[in-house]
Symmetry: C2
Subunit: 153 residues, 2 copies
């Protein structure tokens, strides 16, 4: 019941990019150092974020990655969903439709959604709403200024 390292690294990378006031692209190599993420692993991650419309890239000298949107318009949910997929706490939540109406049959054998499915479906919504509510900008504002590592400009 936790984020994958990949998602955690993705968040770290996006936060690090948002922290920098630099307008030039950041090479993977440099981002890797600031965010404490293995280079080749970060490579994969940034590619996913790019395909997901969060970043843009530029090749060659002076190239690297840049945020495509403002930090205040990128939510935790967006990043996490791209990497780890939707948060689904257990199999039976899938049988419960958004409006609570009966869906398919749960793996547990009951039809129209079981009590556990309903309860965990509520949890799913609580979590999603929280992740949607938090932007990368919000994260920056909760950092302690004295301990933060920023790119050199």
């Amino acid at each position: 019941m936790k984020l994958s390292k990949k998602a955690e690294y993705a968040l770290r990378a996006v936060v690090a990019m948002a922290r920098s006031s630099r307008t030039k692209p950041v090479p993977i190599q440099e981002l890797s150092e600031v965010a404490h993420v293995p280079v080749k692993f970060l490579e994969q991650i940034l590619l996913i974020l790019k395909r997901g419309g969060i970043l843009q890239s530029k090749r060659g000298v002076g190239g690297g990655y840049q945020l495509l949107k403002q930090a205040s318009h990128i939510t935790l949910a967006e990043v996490v969903r791209l990497i780890d997929g939707e948060f689904v706490p257990m199999s039976c939540t899938e049988a419960v439709a958004a409006d609570g109406s009966p869906g398919g049959t749960c793996e547990c054998g009951q039809q129209g959604g079981c009590g556990l499915g309903r309860s965990f479906s509520d949890l799913q919504h609580v979590v999603n709403e929280y992740l949607e509510s938090q932007s990368i900008q919000d994260i920056l504002q909760r950092e302690q200024p004295d301990d933060v590592l920023v790119f050199e400009i």
Copy 2:
């Protein structure tokens, strides 16, 4: 980012036991059928729940498992924590103390807790509070009476 099958099965088993009005112990075999969980796997699970103080067992003919507490006094949190351990959404939340005071150094390199750690620590609390708030009795009340399978008495 989801419960293990083990935790899901544990919840199903506890809910099934709570559903039954029977006062005699339920054998693993029977529980396995009602809860749709493989017998030998369920065996392991029930043992954990027993050691965790949720169930009691009795051997021999007429033996089986029984809830040790009322359904209204068993929370989802209790069951899930026994099987899957504490919900910790990411590594950096560990560096944030319960009161928000600076803890150790995150894996991300920052000291006194990073912004991500603080935000996910909040999520952790939201989730824990939800799971603590929901009892097995609450789950029973959300079942649809017509579709539920109960033990024969």
